[in-house]
Symmetry: C2
Subunit: 455 residues, 2 copies
């Protein structure tokens, strides 16, 4: 009797855990990605034929059409667009900036931060005060700050091994710098670019205002020129900085999340989502951020079709619109998901670049996380050794209150901030194999989730 019970237990637990065949299926998925993948070609088109896809732009609209068309060609069960009104911030003319020093104008590489107001038409000229952080700013007080340009020269911490930790810490100066400076009467703010390299690219990115503080123009300065400005200020504290930006916010624009799915054969009402965001900043091609994530998510469906895998659960790819500014697309998608009868059991996001895979990061119910993290041993031979509790992704995190297991795909992070939000984020910075291995990693985990669900 005991023996029979033991076998019943064994056969039951066998169904809930990974099977020997899983490793064969995963091997097939990697081979398909590395030999029959479409991701690299898709990314080429998104970057080189369409380019930067800021929300509200003609490029973003072209990208929506392109992704829809390509998903249509995969012969999925369903492909559709979800309407969403998105912000329409326009950079305007190329920004100009210089230091006035000894009768000469020394040019600086700057760019307006996303969402910023522009300077007056003639530009903004004022003395500059350099601070490293908000405490230094506060200690200066209103009298010293009033009418000045505040230069926040806070470098990303090079000692952080994971560069996203350094980004998280330094990012507050980009987002909140204008408000904190304006609270003390500053006329403008210049923030050191969030870049661990020394180069001439200014890095844009979202910044915020609030209703109780005057709006002042905010821009980012390249790391080389942040050092140059800092050195000039050490020589002479009374130099003038001039900058001119003509960015502005226009009326919201109709845009779309683009969605494609393969229906599950056994549990069609359980959805495994894979996604990235289709919008990018305007300065570059949005190759690593996040063209890579979009084409990898599309590739997951392509691999399933190529290998003729009929998943037990529904697999859905979402190219989200508006991750960079106000998350209108992801928020609206989550709202729709809540109204569906189907449940999003898990969601995987790729939004950390098309680099060599390192692992996955999990957020959600601890037991669910642990169930999936047990599959790690199937993935270590593919370089995916880091499976930790952590973060899902800006887009999929909107599904958090629906009990969805959130999974962030984690590629190597060392090069990401060299490119992120700058004109340097171009197709040639993406390595084909690294991109494909990422897509394969996502497809393999998607396959496991579709086979076993999340208990």
């Amino acid at each position: 009797m005991k023996q029979i019970l033991f076998f019943i237990f064994l056969s039951f637990s066998f169904k809930l855990t990974a099977q020997p065949d899983d490793s064969l299926q995963i091997r097939k998925i990697y081979s398909a990605a590395l030999t029959k993948g479409k991701a690299y070609g898709w990314l080429d088109y998104l970057c080189n034929n369409i380019g930067g896809r800021i929300t509200g732009s003609p490029q973003a609209a072209a990208a929506v059409d392109y992704v829809k068309k390509e998903l249509d060609q995969l012969q999925l069960n369903k492909v559709w667009k979800q309407e969403v009104m998105v912000p329409n911030w326009i950079r305007g003319e190329k920004e100009v900036a210089w230091i006035e020093q000894g009768g000469k104008n020394i040019p600086l590489n700057i760019c307006a931060l996303g969402g910023s107001i522009g300077t007056p038409t003639g530009g903004l000229k004022a003395n500059v005060i350099e601070v490293n952080n908000f405490e230094e700013l506060k200690n200066l007080g209103r009298e010293k700050v009033s009418g000045k340009i505040i230069f926040i020269n806070h470098p990303m911490n090079p000692e952080s091994i994971n560069t996203f930790s350094a980004y998280g810490e330094a990012g507050t100066y980009r987002y909140d710098g204008a408000v904190k400076a304006a609270q003390l009467g500053a006329a403008g703010v210049v923030v050191r670019s969030l870049n661990l390299s020394l180069d001439d690219f200014p890095h844009t990115g979202a910044m915020g205002y609030n209703d109780s503080t005057p709006k002042i123009p905010a821009c980012a300065i390249s790391t080389n020129d942040a050092n140059k400005l800092s050195a000039a200020l050490k020589q002479n504290k009374s130099i003038y900085l001039y900058f001119k930006t003509s960015c502005r916010k226009e009326k919201d624009v109709l845009s779309y999340n683009v969605i494609g799915e393969i229906k599950g054969t056994e549990f069609p009402d359980e959805i495994v989502l894979v996604g990235g965001h289709l919008d990018s900043w305007d300065l570059a091609q949005g190759a690593h951020d996040d063209g890579a994530g979009v084409v990898q998510s599309m590739e997951v469906l392509n691999i399933f079709k190529t290998l003729n895998i009929q998943p037990k659960r529904t697999i859905r790819c979402v190219a989200f619109m508006d991750e960079e500014s106000t998350w209108t697309g992801p928020v609206l998608y989550a709202k729709m998901a809540k109204q569906e009868s189907a449940k999003h059991i898990a969601a995987i996001e790729s939004d950390a670049g098309g680099f060599s895979p390192r692992g996955f990061s999990f957020k959600g119910d601890t037991l669910k996380c642990l169930t999936v993290m047990k599959w790690k041993k199937l993935f270590t031979q593919y370089g995916l050794s880091d499976w930790d509790f952590g973060y899902g992704g800006s887009d999929i995190n909107q599904l958090e209150d629906q009990g969805t297991l959130l999974i962030g795909f984690e590629p190597d992070s060392q090069r990401y901030f060299d490119y992120h939000h700058s004109a340097n984020d171009t197709f040639d910075k993406v390595n084909r194999r690294e991109l494909e291995l990422g897509a394969a990693s996502m497809a393999a985990l998607t396959w496991m989730l579709s086979e076993y669900g999340v208990k």
Copy 2:
């Protein structure tokens, strides 16, 4: 009594295993590499001021002087050069090749393989036969092969996750192709470049002859042009291929291994070696192969000096001369090591590129390997999750019969063969942080080895 024995055992085992302070020391080592490192500047000089450093060349000589000078400046206990006679193979004029097709000459990107004889002065023109492997070649037989140019179009396997496995498998066609083709009477051999990308760079590398077979000229063709040639042959099997190379071997030249060391305070006669090879191929700057390994090894000493670490065991950095051709430098170094009273307890080699660290590979006595592999948990937070039995490195492997524990530093392998042995292996392909993290990883393991030895 039992309790006392237990405490004696405890205090003994405590000394043999990692301490809590180790993680603090390792953290300091990473911080020093990421904020005070010299590796990137050194590599810049080696690549951009000196360039390709093929054995016997003026560049190799300049690199020896430069490394010696920089090691001298670190104020080590000892810096010296070890004399070694090295091969002096000279490429000569830039190679020329074309397909004669329909009265037109279609140019091809080729380069002579290292060690090859040149073609006759007027070049070599013959019909071409394409084979994928040596079995196909053998099946053709002498009658079909005689007088022809054999085109070995064997791609590296894209399905290998670790690209070095694919290199190992395909590498035999580059090294042995000329002999196998000449055994059947071929006039020359053209080998598909060992590159997983499709591009226009031919990749050189060592090839071999033997005494019982006529020497025929051997060259590599870019992956794009291998595909072009293959397509042309599918159209018309009787097209002619022309190529002209003027490479030749000249008399051996005096060169040097460059060596620097910090003497151990407690066990000066136990040496931990860190090394890479200073020679490169001539086509490029030898940035990833293996300028990176040399400057990372130098950086290990620099970090010890910067942090004022006085190691218990002797730390020795070796910039080996002649890894690429005939290992004269590494062989002579091992001979000298055998004659020293000091013993090389462990050797770490970096010769897989300056990419993001992934782990270490161990070769030697199993128990010694396992002792060191237990330290893995100190390193996983730095991205070093892959600690496996495997391979040391071409240079340090010469120490194998002295009982030295051989350790290969393993960075991410995905991009390496895009650059390896081609004009594409330039300084700009190396990411500063990735290079520094590699140096830190080697320094941290060197520190553990110097503290605890290898039991």
